[in-house]
């Protein structure tokens, strides 16, 4: 089976000597969604930055859709792999929502008209089409998050990477977000502490801790493995029951 994203022995050491990633190996099939679970400081955000070729030298450890990560390919790769960062205020920097959503497509060579069509379409996908001319700082946190996702969807990526998308959201906004993500017809890498959300969206999960992938299997199996969960500082929400999973 052809692998869509391949990561072979990816390591990264920060300039201060901290080893954030120590030989990461995994791959994803086309259309597959995976969750990356792990405690704070496990190296999740570092891994995400690598998926967009932002940190460090690229020596072909990562390959997406047959494209090796190199400085010539980086433009194409950033168009293919869309990253939604943790804090929407970091992602939304233009004076109006529509301009922010058009920023990516314009950079990736779409014409002004195409960019606008893409942007409106992306805003519709997240249910924010009526906020086009609003200033991002006047939106609620949940709305900002949705717009941040639209800014990435507007460039039509094939792989969507989300860094803690559910953090700071109220339950209804979290539900909206999950519904939006389930409807999307692209691969997703979901980095999260929200285990029920990972279970709902991704069949498969990786457990990342101390820069090493500790486990790569079905999400429901990981959540049921008490020993593994405890070792990697993961915990299901209080009162959350998993007994129905075995019956599927």
């Amino acid at each position: 089976m052809s692998k869509y994203l391949k990561i072979n022995n990816l390591s990264y050491t920060y300039p201060d000597g901290h080893k954030a990633l120590k030989g990461i190996d995994f791959s994803i099939n086309k259309g597959e969604s995976i969750a990356i679970l792990g405690p704070n400081g496990a190296g999740k955000t570092t891994l995400i930055l690598h998926l967009n070729g932002i940190l460090g030298e690229l020596k072909g450890e990562i390959e997406v859709d047959g494209l090796e990560y190199s400085s010539e390919n980086i433009g194409k790769i950033r168009k293919t792999v869309g990253v939604v960062f943790q804090d929407p205020d970091d992602q939304l920097f233009m004076p109006t929502v529509i301009e922010d959503v058009m920023f990516g497509p314009k950079n990736f060579g779409y014409s002004n008209e195409e960019s606008e069509t893409n942007a409106v379409e992306a805003l519709k996908m997240v249910g924010m089409e009526n906020f086009q001319d609003r200033a991002p700082h006047h939106l609620s946190f949940g709305q900002k998050r949705k717009v941040a996702i639209a800014t990435v969807l507007a460039s039509k990526p094939k792989l969507l990477v989300l860094d803690e998308p559910a953090s700071n959201l109220d339950p209804a906004s979290r539900r909206d977000l999950i519904d939006i993500l389930i409807k999307l017809d692209i691969s997703i890498i979901l980095v999260t502490h929200d285990l029920p959300m990972a279970l709902e969206i991704c069949e498969r999960s990786l457990v990342l801790n101390e820069g090493i992938i500790k486990e790569d299997s079905l999400t429901k199996d990981i959540l049921q493995n008490k020993q593994l969960m405890k070792e990697n500082r993961l915990e299901l929400p209080y009162g959350f029951a998993l007994h129905h999973l075995g019956e599927e």
Binding site: L49, N52, I54, G75, R78, K79, G82, V83, F85, D87, D89, D90, Q91, L92, F93, M94, P95, T96, I98, E99, M102, F103, G104, K106, N107, F108, N112, E116, A135, P136, H137, T151, V152, S155
Partner: protein, 254 residues
């Protein structure tokens, strides 16, 4: 939650003919009219009257409520205070007009005072009108149309975007300081504020880095372009600007 005050948003939501005019035209007109006022001759009654007429006509069609206009005119006060000292100084011949309680009032100083009062007030009025009928985004858009360097446009739009984020963050820091018993009193009360400001500076720097990362991951290649917008032309504004320049030139050279 923590509300942001939008007191720095100067544009008014009132309908005015000037509201939907091309921002680049408004900026250029304001600039040219202010320049011609600055170079005008205050001893010349014709110039004073015609410039005042133009400026107050623009103020009238901008439909800014008088109360708001006067309130914003207070920015003029430092100039007025400065100007009020001038009659006691002389620049050339010590021609004394009047002696007030033994203090001489000089003619040249008196003229300078009138000059500053007239020019500053008219200039500030133009600025008030421009900011009241143009939103900040439109101002940036207009400056972009006037071919201001990309980097300056980018810096200005970032400043507008992040000033609220920054103010909110600082408010939260102060709330958390007060909730731990901090009282802003005396010089000692400033020390924690100084530390907080330092922390804010570092946070701002780090946010800048994160914003930049999110920009390059969306293919940023050095230019930020605002969306195309539709605006009207204004013959009246062009006409008034031309008159203003004409008044200056006619009197200077003819």
């Amino acid at each position: 939650m923590y509300s942001t005050t939008h007191s720095h948003h100067l544009s008014l939501h009132k309908e005015s003919v000037l509201k939907n005019i091309k921002p680049e035209l408004k900026i250029l007109s304001t600039f040219l009219i202010v320049i011609s006022i600055a170079f005008s001759d205050v001893e010349n009654l014709f110039q004073i009257l015609s410039h005042s007429l133009i400026v107050f006509l623009i103020l009238y069609i901008s439909k800014i409520p008088l109360k708001i206009y006067l309130k914003r005119l207070t920015i003029d006060i430092p100039f007025i205070i400065f100007a009020l000292f001038l009659p006691f100084l002389s620049s050339e011949n010590n021609d004394i007009v009047y002696t007030l309680f033994g203090i001489d009032i000089y003619r040249t100083g008196l003229e300078d005072m009138f000059g500053i009062l007239f020019k500053a007030t008219l200039g500030v009025t133009m600025g008030i009108v421009l900011t009241a009928v143009t939103t900040t985004i439109e101002l940036i858009y207009g400056l972009q149309k006037l071919k201001l360097p990309q980097i300056i446009i980018a810096i200005m739009s970032f400043a507008i975007r992040y000033i609220d984020v920054f103010i909110d963050e600082f408010k939260r820091v102060r709330i958390s300081m007060r909730s731990r018993g901090y009282q802003e009193k005396g010089i000692k009360g400033l020390i924690p504020i100084a530390y907080a400001s330092g922390a804010m500076l570092i946070r701002g720097y780090e946010r800048g880095e994160r914003v930049y990362l999110s920009m390059i991951s969306r293919g940023f290649n050095g230019s930020i372009e605002l969306k195309k917008r539709e605006y009207d032309n204004s013959v009246l504004l062009i006409f008034l600007t031309l008159i203003s320049i004409f008044v200056l030139i006619v009197d200077k050279y003819l």
